[in-house]
Symmetry: D2
């Protein structure tokens, strides 16, 4: 593997896959890399039209339909895995064996067993392995984490996280793999996983969860004919209905090692809220709030105001923030940020790790171990829910 350039491939060319493809392509436009040149080598998708279309749009050299062609290509250094969770383990293990650096989408796997195996494979690997908790790369969230770390908000007493989506609110949205796993693999596994990782990033480790509650609001969905992707309008549905077996809504309580308490809720059936993530972090000297709908700002309240004139400030993401896109075009406050850019910043941190940059480097990506831990916590929530909300101790998982 040559390090005068780094060759990148993406496995999976759906919505999130193309977002990875875009990130590898765009990373050099927003950062002064000081890094080997990026070569966009290949995109794989079992559905060939997707693979070809993505490769052409994003300027990758070739499109393949079998991910093994990527694992077998000795010229490829870095691979994003962006396919169904059930395929993560097999692909990741093969890629690691082939000596690739691997960035795997979250959640890490479809089962705890697979996730554990991946974390083990990581320990044995000689390459960089990471899981795609992209909110770690949101400039506002990273700033909140930094403020908490530096004591700017005092001792945190309460964290509240909500991640509410609506992709499942229409009962005519057809059955898909995401509606058929066990409790905990629905809303919690999909969007709650981001909340859990973000909560620990900001407030440190959780030591127990309780009050797990999950409900399935839409209990049956039509079985679709043919190839379906999220967001695609369907022409035809089968008459057949299938049972939804996992959670549309989940909520739980968390206890942090610091003594803070956490309130968590997530939903995939929140009416007309396409993608609403909201965080509140409250401490003895201030508070910070963030809303994905206003991705480029923090509401920050602290002691830095004249007497009688304090209040939550609308702080716009700016060049003093971590992950502010220093080299990008129009890099000033008020232009806006989007969720998509988080993937680009993630790509940059990953590349720094691969290239061994340490001086002034961004914090490294979440590891497979982090991804496994997040799944253990989600599983603990599901266990709590299955036991009427009983507490589940997380300390065995803490390193």
């Amino acid at each position: 593997m040559s390090h005068t350039s780094l060759s990148v491939a993406v496995i999976g060319a759906g919505m999130a896959g193309t977002t990875h493809a875009n990130a590898w392509r765009q990373v050099g436009t927003v950062y002064d890399l000081g890094l080997p040149k990026i070569r966009l080598a290949a995109i794989a998708d079992a559905y060939e039209p997707f693979a070809k279309d993505a490769a052409e749009r994003y300027g990758y050299e070739k499109a393949v339909t079998d991910w093994r062609d990527i694992a077998d290509d000795p010229s490829i250094d870095i691979v994003s895995i962006v396919v169904g969770n059930a395929l993560h383990r097999e692909i990741a293990e093969a890629l690691i064996r082939a000596g690739k650096h691997v960035l795997c989408e979250k959640p890490l796997a479809d089962t705890l067993e697979s996730a554990r195996a991946m974390a083990e494979a990581e320990r044995a690997a000689g390459t960089v392995t990471a899981v795609g908790f992209t909110y770690r790369r949101n400039a506002a969230i990273a700033e909140i984490a930094k403020l908490v770390r530096e004591g700017h908000l005092g001792e945190i007493n309460h964290f509240e996280g909500r991640y509410w989506c609506d992709y499942g609110v229409d009962p005519n949205t057809p059955m898909a793999w995401r509606y058929s796993g066990p409790m905990g693999s629905g809303a919690l596994g999909d969007v709650g996983s981001h909340l859990i990782d973000t909560a620990e990033l900001i407030c440190g480790p959780l030591v127990s969860v309780s009050g797990g509650a999950m409900m399935t609001s839409i209990k049956q969905r039509p079985v679709a004919k043919g190839h379906v992707t999220r967001g695609t309008a369907l022409d035809t549905y089968a008459v057949e209905l299938a049972e939804v077996t996992n959670d549309d809504v989940a909520t739980f309580t968390g206890h942090f090692a610091s003594g803070a308490v956490g309130t968590f809720s997530c939903s995939r059936v929140a009416w007309n809220m396409p993608n609403a993530m909201m965080l509140d972090v409250l401490g003895t000297k201030g508070r910070a709030s963030w809303d994905l709908a206003r991705c480029g700002e923090i509401k920050l309240d602290d002691v830095n105001s004249p007497a009688g004139l304090g209040g939550a400030r609308q702080v716009l993401v700016n060049p003093t923030f971590p992950y502010f896109a220093r080299g990008s075009s129009m890099a000033f406050g008020g232009v806006g940020l989007t969720q998509i850019e988080q993937f680009t910043y993630q790509a940059y941190a990953f590349l720094q790790q691969v290239a061994g940059v340490t001086e002034g480097a961004l914090p490294p990506c979440a590891t497979f171990a982090d991804g496994y831990r997040e799944m253990l916590i989600a599983d603990a929530v599901a266990t709590s829910a299955a036991n009427g909300g009983a507490a589940v101790d997380l300390t065995p998982f803490n390193r």
Copy 2:
């Protein structure tokens, strides 16, 4: 007791007491009563300057320092009890024995035992008894409850309630009775009680709670010298510190009989949030949100929009709403509403009950039984918290 007029007294002349005093005085200005005339008879407060000042400001005929003078006055029909929780039972029982109609502030009592006794006294009483859950009289909340009842939002799958205050965030705020009860009598008992009552008003009965978590952020407070009221600046503090024994922050999960799940959190140490109550109600056909900071509006999202142009509407409280102040001055949208007005609307509903108005009457006030039930639920949350978040069944409390 004559019903050509109704004589009213208020016991307690602190902040909330004067709010009651004001409500009885103002009710006739905002409603077409169709009711007996209101006579403002007396205000009682153990601290005489408070009693006298309130009586003079709000136009009550006399000020007394002993509440028994009110119980003993045969000309008085209606009495508000607005004193420390520990005094509610004794006063309420005496007033009921004296044949008074009683409106008691929340929470109903300081102990479950007292609350139960008051609910029993209520069953035996020949008069109207009620507990002051004033948010039932908030026009926006009442409208949300009506929308849910009428199915406008479909089946509710998720309720989220937050009530965050900051009255305890300053560690120099001195020790007071509200910081010294058992776990569950702090933030949960004070502001969480409103969330619980409001949640059941909107979503129907809870059947279990779990994930109870409580934390004390400020563990010691200075003991104040002399007479102190909430919001009063202190000149002098004792050197002595006392232990805070109840909850600054509380969070829990609730299960509604309907199948919906509830996420609840409350705080009295939320930095610089003097009085923030926020509700989200999510269903299969819409959602409604409300924020006390914008007391006169609902964010409402439903199916009533042209294709592609839907979204949460900023619905201003208007004359079609329950509790809209029909007879008031400047009674049009956009002028604003405040929490204070809820007390006036509560007074009106209570007066209708006393006068036996049924046709077109507002929903009746919460009863002592409701207040007892709310305390049982709060106690169940405290039990859950004491057991690491274990579930507590509420069905024994359901009627």
Copy 3:
């Protein structure tokens, strides 16, 4: 006239009249008066049911149908005039002659000639005379004015004021006196008058206006049968239509003596915005914004933030603010304020003037001279509009 108590009467018992009636009644509940006792003496309205209803609701001793009965009553000290603009002059002059203190609603009169005469009558009067620019008593606006005065925002370079209402947006809202005056007496005269007074309160005197533009959106309205008040639903309309002759929308540019420029707009046909007043004040060291929909808060941005963490703060009205209701029930931030309370604070300032309180007194009310000046400015805007937007010099009006 005895000053051991002050007797008050209100002429006009419509929506705004009852708001005055309420203010005189409530002023003692929110302030420590240190003043003579208020006696609620009389309410007058030509339409007897209104007068009687208001007197009963607000506790005034008598209701009369002829305002002259009030002018002639030697026991009355203070009178609010809250009737159609065309009646202001005659009533005010009579009251002044009778030695009354007079608080007249805005705009001061229906014609410049009448307003000038009233300002002259004021100079000759031995009593207190004032015009009801209630936004001077809004705690947030008063604070912004104070911040500007103290240089907190640096030199102001731009003021933007918008007052958008919707009371005229429905073409079926019937013809009324407010739709039939000359250009300048519509939206500009009604709500624009508040903007003009508030702008000068905050930024100092205007020296010219230009860019006056007025448009009539709804050109004809049905003539109603019978007694109609704003907000009243009509059962029947005449077939007849009448021409609307004044402005539904008005906008103009102002130049302040300070060098700042002002952008002003007002509307009575702003779709579904019942009562939206919004101000932005921008200077070289900060900015402040206010929105009537969030009556109790200021958005304030200045230099008091840590580097990189600045932004507009949501400052809640609090006890350090002018006109904060110190003696009121529930007087802490976050409870909310409404437009109605401005009338109460206005009543307090007026009473202080009548009683001759100077130490620690609130700023005095706007005078008839101020009211005349505001009308001269509005007239200058109308002149500008009639001349295609040509500039009109205001310096002849400056004292």
Copy 4:
């Protein structure tokens, strides 16, 4: 010129130049082009390090320091001009003579004379020429324009546009070409130009302006040494100060041919508002508002709500909207949009014009004639300001 592929070059590699460079590169990732392939040919900048850096980051084949090399290169089809206004004319004329398609940044030129000449050159050109009014490509603004065109908001009676920036608020920001033109070339020429074009896009042509007012808040600025770009921190300033000769703040009134009135204001000294553009469009059947800080949403109010439950809706940009990025990754509501994306959508519309696509094509770009018109209107505002706000007739400019 071959149309089996289209070769693109960008002249100017500053902040806006790289945004163009990015747009040409990314256009194929968000749209199904149905177009010739894009070849990224060259980037020119007089400052060679900028040119080289941009070419490398954005994948352009070569970097040049003289724009004439691009004009002279017969393989180049399309050229973006993104340099100082004073250079636009010479470059555009040369490019047109060389048979290039030209997309020129706004404002079209530094003088009316040059702009007029460019509009003439356009009429003679056989290629596509356009000016970069990118807000025409904002999905929310385009939707508002469509709603107005279709009568969804009734007859528009009022348009209010504000564009407030802060890039000039710091008096230490050094002198630059943008601070040294005549009145009208400052805030008005820079950001006001967007307001004017957007206003006419939504409401149709203006027929007159009046009330022009301009003020210079920061009257002198330090002269910087060496190469300076907007946003760059300076190490050293000269002792010398230079006079600022144009407008920091501008405001004016506009009359639309439709009868609607317009209120306009713009600023480059709006404290801590990096880039705030806000629009309100009010009509007889609804209103729409937009704020660049929430680039991906419209506040829309209309008749489509149940009785009593109407209000402004928060409509998220979605696939039914013009310019919704249909082919992009993560193309669902709630992910966010930024100003940067408008450049990509502009590139797409321009490419459709070049390729002669008509069926289902997006509205074409603004022409040089449109850019000249916008400058005539801005000049009319400056003329109005120079004459104390006198009206200036625009009908001679209307086609």
